[in-house]
Symmetry: C2
Subunit: 265 residues, 2 copies
């Protein structure tokens, strides 16, 4: 596989992270998962805006300064002989001296890699994890390289026989799935957790909230469990129905899923 690294296309074996890279050593950086299809990166402007916003929040240089990510993505796809792909943009604070404090002017490092686009799952079973997200933690608000909570939420869920972890915040409000935003239908209304700090501001989430009437708020688990139908959203899967939360079974609502999938095309 070919990886774009700081201006060069390299074989994966030559595209590693430096021994002193703060991304590798301290999770000091950001990533973005992008869908490439039909010759372009989907929702690229939203992804770029989120990267820039998160970069500012973390006190890092602009992650996409001077980059034409659309062109780099097209060239990477050509090098990789792929038509569609899951792209990953990885941005680190770069190499630095020992310790928590970054250099005054960090020499950032940037990579774009790709993998074949796996088909989205037909449905997802969630299991509630014990890992609760702190609304004041940058690791919960931003797609940082400090992703261990999500890794372990997934691990716990799979051990429990489910597909993905459901995460609450430290106050007990529903936050998200381990790699997706969550929406649910109760009666005539659709709900999703508000961006209170423990919820990643997903690009698909944003598009759907703009196009449809969605109530955003702080909701206890009981409200989710009383839903008529539940869906998850992220850049790679689009919209996918949830068929279980723990032992509780949910019917998919195909009309809702199709309407929202269509809205994203």
């Amino acid at each position: 596989m070919i990886v774009w690294v700081d201006g060069e296309f390299r074989a994966a074996a030559d595209a590693g992270f430096g021994a002193a890279d703060r991304g590798a050593l301290l999770g000091d950086g950001l990533f973005e998962t992008l869908r490439f299809e039909a010759g372009e990166v989907k929702d690229l402007d939203r992804h770029l805006a989120r990267l820039q916003s998160s970069g500012r929040a973390l006190g890092l240089p602009d992650p996409v300064e001077g980059l034409d990510l659309a062109a780099i993505a097209r060239a990477l796809m050509a090098h990789s002989e792929l038509d569609s792909a899951a792209l990953r943009f990885t941005f680190t604070a770069g190499e630095g001296a020992r310790g928590l404090l970054r250099a005054e002017a960090p020499q950032i490092s940037r990579r774009l890699s790709c993998a074949p686009l796996a088909p989205a799952p037909q449905s997802v079973r969630l299991a509630l994890t014990t890992i609760r997200r702190s609304p004041s933690s940058p690791a919960a608000q931003h797609k940082t390289l400090s992703y261990i909570d999500n890794v372990l939420a997934r691990r716990h869920a799979v051990a429990a026989g489910a597909d993905m972890g459901l995460m609450l915040d430290t106050q007990g409000h529903v936050a998200c799935a381990d790699c997706a935003n969550i929406f649910w239908l109760s009666g005539e209304r659709i709900y999703t957790p508000a961006l209170n700090g423990a919820v990643l501001p997903g690009t698909i989430r944003a598009r759907l909230c703009e196009q449809f009437s969605v109530e955003e708020g702080e909701y206890d688990l009981a409200l989710l469990e009383a839903a008529d139908a539940i869906i998850l959203t992220n850049s790679l899967m689009g919209v996918v129905p949830v068929t279980a939360v723990g032992e509780r079974v949910f019917a998919a609502n195909p009309d809702w899923v199709e309407a929202w999938q269509d809205a994203l095309d």
Copy 2:
């Protein structure tokens, strides 16, 4: 600088992390900071026990299986021509396919690096950060590669004119400094936050709690602010007095600091 990587001593330029290493991409791994002095790694057994315990908690293979870390450290010091050093052991879940889920049998990666031992600070000024630690987050309980909260706590503190960030948990209890445990003296009693999940179980903390009478509990910030004296502890600094928490000034208590420093020798 020389780095030990999975059985070989390499130049730092050849000691990087693979492009698909989960440690670099997802913060999926652990690290340990060790003090090498007078021919040996201080408190090595406690560090090894913590690594193994954290490895189990994270569902990772034994981080030190088959390693004689004492011998590797001595050889690294000889290669590096250092007598004393800050060592860093970095353990990652290794290379894997895209996605949150690890391979069934992860091919872990291990590194030991060293840097000259900087003198411990004479004193530390703390600034309270807004980042609160979730007691159920593995990133708070263990010394994981997902360290962005600590990185940003430090950054906020330095921007506020202090040296280190003071972190509370999501319930408002005092947890720790961004890279150290905290103790304080009030009247005749010494207090430290209990290991409730938001506090890293420091090796120096453990030794001091065994040797001295210390009250462990959940304490509000007001109790810390009312202290007569405050100290921080970690493997590299040992015991260091705190002279400020935000605007509030604290006098060092040299008798206490010396007695505890002596107890660690």
